[in-house]
């Protein structure tokens, strides 16, 4: 793929042109590295703040002895609990959306029925709707049911976006798998879902993992729903950070440490799924 693009240097050029191109490429790399440093500076600043001793949080000099004080302090506060809540909600919501969404995606991929387009459009619409449109009805319903400030309320709300992502992503992965193998399994007497389970699903395992990771990231990163639907018991880590900012004075090293803890799982997971990132983010818009 790369060989066909418009920047790659052709080896047949005269020497001086190759030298010029080499210089240009190094210039390009230098500029790129410079811009990257500039872009990441605000982010790196928060990161280094998390490792400073509390008394030294605001100093500008970059030579200090890193310490984990802020993290241990954070853990003794209630942060461990909200971190656990975040983990629980994200895992439950991801699991539930896969359970419901994967078979649905398979059916949408293999079964040509009349309303297929409408279903796809509906899935797209749920992704586009602003969260506030869902929050007010959910808030009223949960208030009435007494589910406010519970983990289950969040798990249910996160299905509104996760289910759409699972259906959209997995449908694409299933479309890419030829049906010949399933048909062979049918001939041997497998039912549709047993062929799905034994033949098709194992072939989409990388796609399944990527989808699960994206669901986890989206649930983990949510702030808006968690802010409104929780108070004290089911507070997730992003809301806990805001509570630090608003009520606990200005212990900046602790706040920076909390931010670091929240982004850590996301950054680790993103490395795993970066190939599928755009597809997940543009779910539903580009095709079908």
């Amino acid at each position: 793929m790369h060989a066909e693009t418009w920047h790659s240097a052709a080896p047949s050029l005269p020497l001086w042109q190759r030298v010029v191109q080499g210089a240009q490429r190094h210039l390009r790399s230098t500029v790129a590295v410079g811009v990257l440093m500039l872009v990441l500076l605000p982010f790196l600043w928060m990161l280094q703040m998390a490792f400073r001793p509390a008394g030294d949080a605001l100093s500008l000099d970059l030579i200090f002895s890193p310490t984990l004080e802020a993290f241990t302090g954070l853990w003794q506060d209630n942060f461990a609990r909200s971190f656990g809540n975040s983990l629980l909600v994200s895992v439950l919501s991801t699991g539930l959306s896969l359970l419901l969404g994967v078979p649905a995606a398979y059916a949408l991929s293999r079964w040509r029925f009349k309303q297929r387009r409408q279903v796809a459009l509906w899935v797209l619409c749920t992704r586009m709707a602003p969260p506030i449109a869902f929050t007010i009805p959910f808030f009223l319903a949960f208030r009435w049911l007494g589910l406010l400030d519970t983990v289950w309320a969040l798990v249910l709300v996160y299905l509104t976006f996760n289910l759409a992502i699972v259906i959209w992503m997995m449908q694409g992965f299933f479309d890419a798998i030829p049906t010949a193998l399933e048909e062979a399994a049918w001939m041997d007497g497998c039912g549709i879902w047993s062929a799905f389970w034994h033949v098709t699903l194992p072939l989409t395992r990388p796609g399944l993992v990527a989808t699960a990771v994206l669901c986890f990231i989206f649930s983990w990163s949510d702030f808006f729903f968690a802010l409104i639907l929780t108070r004290t018991q089911a507070v997730t880590a992003p809301v806990a950070i805001v509570n630090f900012l608003q009520y606990d004075g200005w212990e900046w090293t602790k706040i920076a440490a909390a931010g670091t803890m929240v982004m850590l799982p996301v950054l680790l997971f993103t490395v795993l799924v970066r190939k599928y990132l755009v597809h997940g983010l543009t779910a539903g818009g580009v095709k079908d």
Binding site: F139, L140, T160, T179, I241
Partner: protein
């Protein structure tokens, strides 16, 4: 099972955009024996069983709330007036009030400023960086991943990062400016700069989206016309404007619409950095709806605001869908 091993990598590489012509279970047209018909009926039932739970749940968690939202928006329901749940005396009352509400109209204008300038800058920065990083060099390919960091950070962490930059007491930016003899007031407390400070943070967070999409599309630009133009004496700028840009045009439009729709959802940045202030200069429509519904507990009125936003977003989504269809398979992931 030997075929598994040979198909798995291919399924990985081609990914979702390649849809194969699927013969599917309906292909037995030549021989409509009773056995095939039975099989077709059985398979339709099986697929229906797989699809139904997801659709039922999806209906319960998306359609039902949206109907509720529209119904609530027709009532004056609020915390202090819980009896008003089914009070449809003035169904259009909230909407009539919206037209009179200067704060709401202002919020639309703030939204328009934030969205238009923010999206435009994201496109420019994203396009520029994509052009910078598009080359065969392995170093540049490696750098791309790091440029994605702002986009994948949880939004609350992005807000925190910029809270640190914009709070004068702890900000390295303010400290440096002071050292150089240019002390600056807090950018987010100043009504003249607050919105633009938010725009900077928003562009920082979202330029990687455009960058990623453009980089993917640049791979599709064929080499031949570029070479031909070079031989005919076109300079870099001309090659870009007349040959490369037309290939990117639709990608850029799709990016713009996506980001435009998502810009209506911007919340954590505003909540953490300015809380809508100073005054109401950074209060976008989403934020105003949040305040009405959850600070003042005017649920009916808040719902009306949400319905207006839904209508705007629906129109924009229809545009995306149309463009995406016209674009067809040419689009990369």
């Amino acid at each position: 099972m030997p075929p598994t091993a040979s198909i798995a990598p291919q399924a990985l590489d081609t990914g979702p955009e390649q849809s194969l012509p699927l013969p599917g279970p309906t292909r037995g047209k030549h021989a409509e024996t009773p056995a095939t018909q039975r099989w077709q009926r059985a398979s339709a039932r099986a697929y229906g069983l797989g699809l139904a739970p997801a659709l039922v749940v999806l209906a319960a968690i998306t359609l039902l709330p949206l109907i509720t939202l529209v119904v609530v928006s027709l009532t004056p329901l609020s915390l202090t007036d819980p009896a008003a749940t089914f009070h449809f005396g003035q169904p259009a009352g909230n909407y009539a009030q919206l037209l009179q509400d200067q704060r709401f109209l202002d919020s639309l204008w703030v939204q328009a400023k934030l969205s238009s300038v923010g999206v435009l800058l994201q496109l420019l920065v994203g396009l520029g960086l994509a052009l910078l990083l598009h080359s065969g060099s392995r170093l540049l390919a490696g750098l791309r991943t790091f440029f994605l960091i702002p986009m994948v950070l949880p939004p609350i962490v992005v807000a925190l990062v910029w809270k640190i930059i914009y709070t004068p007491d702890i900000s390295p930016l303010h400290a440096l400016l002071e050292q150089w003899g240019w002390p600056v007031r807090s950018l987010i407390a100043n009504p003249d700069t607050a919105l633009w400070a938010i725009v900077v943070a928003d562009v920082w967070q979202w330029f990687p989206f455009t960058m990623l999409m453009v980089l993917a599309q640049l791979q599709m630009v064929p080499r031949d016309p570029v070479d031909a133009a070079r031989i005919d004496g076109a300079n870099r700028w001309q090659v870009f404007v007349y040959i490369v840009l037309p290939y990117l045009q639709r990608t850029l439009v799709v990016c713009a619409l996506f980001r435009l729709i998502d810009s209506f959802k911007a919340f954590p940045l505003l909540y953490v950095l300015t809380n809508g202030g100073p005054g109401t200069v950074t209060e976008v429509t989403n934020f105003y709806g949040f305040i009405q519904a959850f600070n003042f507990s005017y649920w009916g009125y808040g719902s009306a605001i949400a319905v207006v936003m839904l209508a705007i977003i629906f129109v924009l989504s229809a545009l995306i869908s149309r463009l995406g269809k016209a674009n067809g398979e040419r689009h990369a992931r």
